[in-house]
């Protein structure tokens, strides 16, 4: 184990971390604005991964192209989901909301199991097999491409929230629900839009993730947890925080895999979550309560 391997791994962790960050960004947007604990987040990611597999195997669609229709579809589905199913639950007690999404997650995971079976599926892109050489370092081409897409998507999302009127309206809702209603914003529509955007983020993340790893139906819950860990570590309500959190988790997983054991890498993430919850509950970049 030499310094070069460590650097290689760290870089790989950063790249994967950016992808995790995009997934978490979707959750941060949803949780931060609509305040719904989306326990089905990981399942949505898994569905996106399967959708990409299907489009690839049946239509020969490259994931980098497929992400556009998949993201659009997810936007629509997310919008409808919020509007139709989740909106009435906003005023209900928290455990009711959880259970709604847990129920949804259970249905989704097992529907996937029914349709695709338990075996792993993957997408093989031959043009990504060659690693990129940067001096003495070797970078996985797939990871670089996926991270690139993640970065671009995140940037687009930032721009939307910063510069468009709708984006600002959504931020207003997040800051002050009642105030937003008072000034005439259609909060329910904005919530649905936000859920749609969050879902689209997850979709893009999923389309890219399948390029790097295989998919099985049971990946969902793990991703949900990971997304929450990242959002909390990075800071709720902070979009750069979600990306930063993602990178941190990506790197820590990579290094933990090297120094401890690959299967123990999640332990690090959970330990980090516990630490953050205790010492700095608003997260690294979050606003203080």
């Amino acid at each position: 184990m030499d310094a070069l391997t460590v650097v290689d791994l760290t870089l790989a962790g950063v790249l994967t971390g950016l992808l995790y960050g995009l997934m978490a960004l979707g959750l941060s947007v949803i949780f931060g604005v609509v305040r719904v604990v989306n326990f089905a987040h990981g399942e949505m990611m898994t569905i996106a991964m399967y959708a990409t597999v299907v489009l690839f195997t049946w239509l020969g669609l490259d994931p980098f192209v497929a992400l556009l229709p998949v993201a659009a579809a997810f936007f629509g589905l997310g919008y409808l989901l919020q509007r139709g199913l989740i909106n009435p639950f906003i005023t209900r007690p928290e455990h009711s909301q959880f259970m709604l999404l847990v129920a949804l997650a259970i249905i989704l995971v097992n529907a996937l199991l029914m349709i695709f079976g338990p075996d792993a599926r993957h997408v093989q892109l031959d043009y990504l097999l060659e690693p990129i050489e940067v001096g003495p370092l070797l970078l996985d081409r797939g990871k670089v491409a996926a991270a690139g897409v993640a970065a671009v998507t995140a940037a687009a999302l930032f721009a939307f929230f910063r510069f468009t009127l709708t984006g600002k309206a959504i931020r207003a809702c997040a800051d002050n629900h009642l105030g937003a209603q008072v000034i005439g914003l259609d909060v329910r529509r904005l919530y649905a839009l936000t859920f749609g955007l969050g879902s689209a983020c997850v979709a893009v993340a999923g389309c890219m993730m399948i390029v790097l790893v295989d998919v099985t139906p049971t990946l969902g819950p793990g991703y949900t947890l990971l997304a929450f860990v990242i959002v909390i570590v990075g800071g709720l309500g902070s979009m750069p925080g979600a990306l930063l959190g993602g990178v941190l988790i990506g790197v820590s997983e990579a290094l933990a895999g090297l120094f401890i054991a690959p299967s123990a890498k999640s332990m690090f993430s959970f330990a980090l979550l516990i630490l953050v919850l205790l010492l700095r509950p608003q997260g690294l970049l979050g606003k203080s309560a």
């Binding site: 959880f98 199991l113 079976g117 139906p217 999640s266 979550l273």
Partner: protein, 325 residues
């Protein structure tokens, strides 16, 4: 007091039916009944924390797992019988609960964040046990079953009926304990905290103390479920016993049955187990033997209950039976 008399009569009838069940049930029904009682008990234990005190724990599999592994480990490594091991199991779980509670309540972690904290602890422990070789690691821990014929209550070995009665005793004990607690000062204070923490504090209630008490009672009760699990199934895998699916299984019963009620967890456990079983039958009969169908049905039922019966089925049922206003 017509309603109370009715309730007592129904309760007596139920108790009698449960007591004589093994005489009439075939082995399959007996095992299903034992499973129902196991979930009823575990659900009741979780209900103390959530239904009574309003603290949402989504990582209760932690206590089942730790309880199971401590008792099983003591038996496996040192030959310590379950009746001795159970004390250490309860202590371990109470300590864990105390740690989680102290961390959460002192640092003001509530609601979603508290739920996530409990999940994190459960997951952390799962991975930990996966790498803990002395207790089998991922390959699992297997307990030797000496015999299944004659009753050896001390070693918890015997015919399936024995396990049924142990589970029944646990459930009945939990019911009695929760009933007692609910109608005592502790129960009233818990409910006050659940309903409105700030108001509770203004009435002189030490909120931190009572929340801790809830988590201690809940975690130690759940430890017992773990011990039972260990000696009933005799094999433990970290992936299975600590996983979040287990935690969700535990809470389904009380939520569907009725949070904060005494009968809710029991009713919920019964309904869910029967649903699971009959759906397995139905699916087999229809030839839809695809993995995942049963759980989809679970999910749909859960969705239905959450959407249309937010307080669970028991309050509605109780009203229909004339047991409540």
């Amino acid at each position: 007091m017509k309603a109370e008399r009715r309730a007592t009569v129904l309760l007596a009838v139920l108790a009698c039916a449960l007591l004589v069940l093994p005489a009439f049930a075939n082995p399959y029904v007996l095992s299903v009944a034992t499973l129902i009682l196991f979930f009823a008990y575990t659900g009741q234990a979780w209900n103390v924390m959530m239904g009574f005190a309003g603290q949402l724990s989504l990582g209760h599999s932690l206590y089942v797992g730790v309880g199971a592994y401590v008792a099983a480990g003591l038996f496996f490594l040192y030959g310590v019988g379950p009746w001795a091991g159970v004390w250490l199991a309860m202590l371990a779980c109470a300590l864990l609960g105390a740690v989680i509670g102290a961390l959460a309540f002192r640092f003001r972690i509530a609601g979603v964040y508290f739920a996530l904290l409990t999940i994190a602890f459960a997951e952390f422990t799962r991975i930990g046990f996966d790498h803990f070789a002395p207790l089998g690691g991922p390959g699992g821990l297997f307990l030797k079953v000496e015999q299944r014929q004659h009753l050896d209550l001390l070693a918890l070995r015997g015919p399936p009926a024995m396990f049924y009665y142990v589970a029944l005793a646990l459930t009945a004990g939990a019911f009695a304990l929760c009933s007692r607690l609910l109608h005592s000062r502790v129960g009233y204070y818990w409910q006050a905290i659940r309903e409105n923490e700030e108001a509770a504090q203004a009435l002189g209630i030490d909120v931190f103390r009572y929340k801790m008490l809830a988590i201690l009672v809940s975690s130690s009760m759940t430890a017992l479920a773990g011990v039972f699990f260990a000696f009933y199934y005799n094999n433990l895998f970290p992936e299975q016993i600590f996983n979040i699916g287990r935690s969700i299984e535990i809470i389904l019963g009380p939520i569907i049955g009725g949070l904060g009620t005494l009968f809710g967890p029991i009713l919920g456990a019964a309904l869910l187990t029967v649903l699971a079983d009959s759906s397995t039958e139905l699916i087999g009969a229809l030839g839809w033997d695809i993995p995942g169908v049963k759980q989809v049905l679970y999910g749909v039922v859960l969705l239905g209950v959450v959407m249309f019966l937010p307080h669970g089925i028991w309050p509605v049922l109780a009203q229909k039976l004339g047991l409540r206003r």
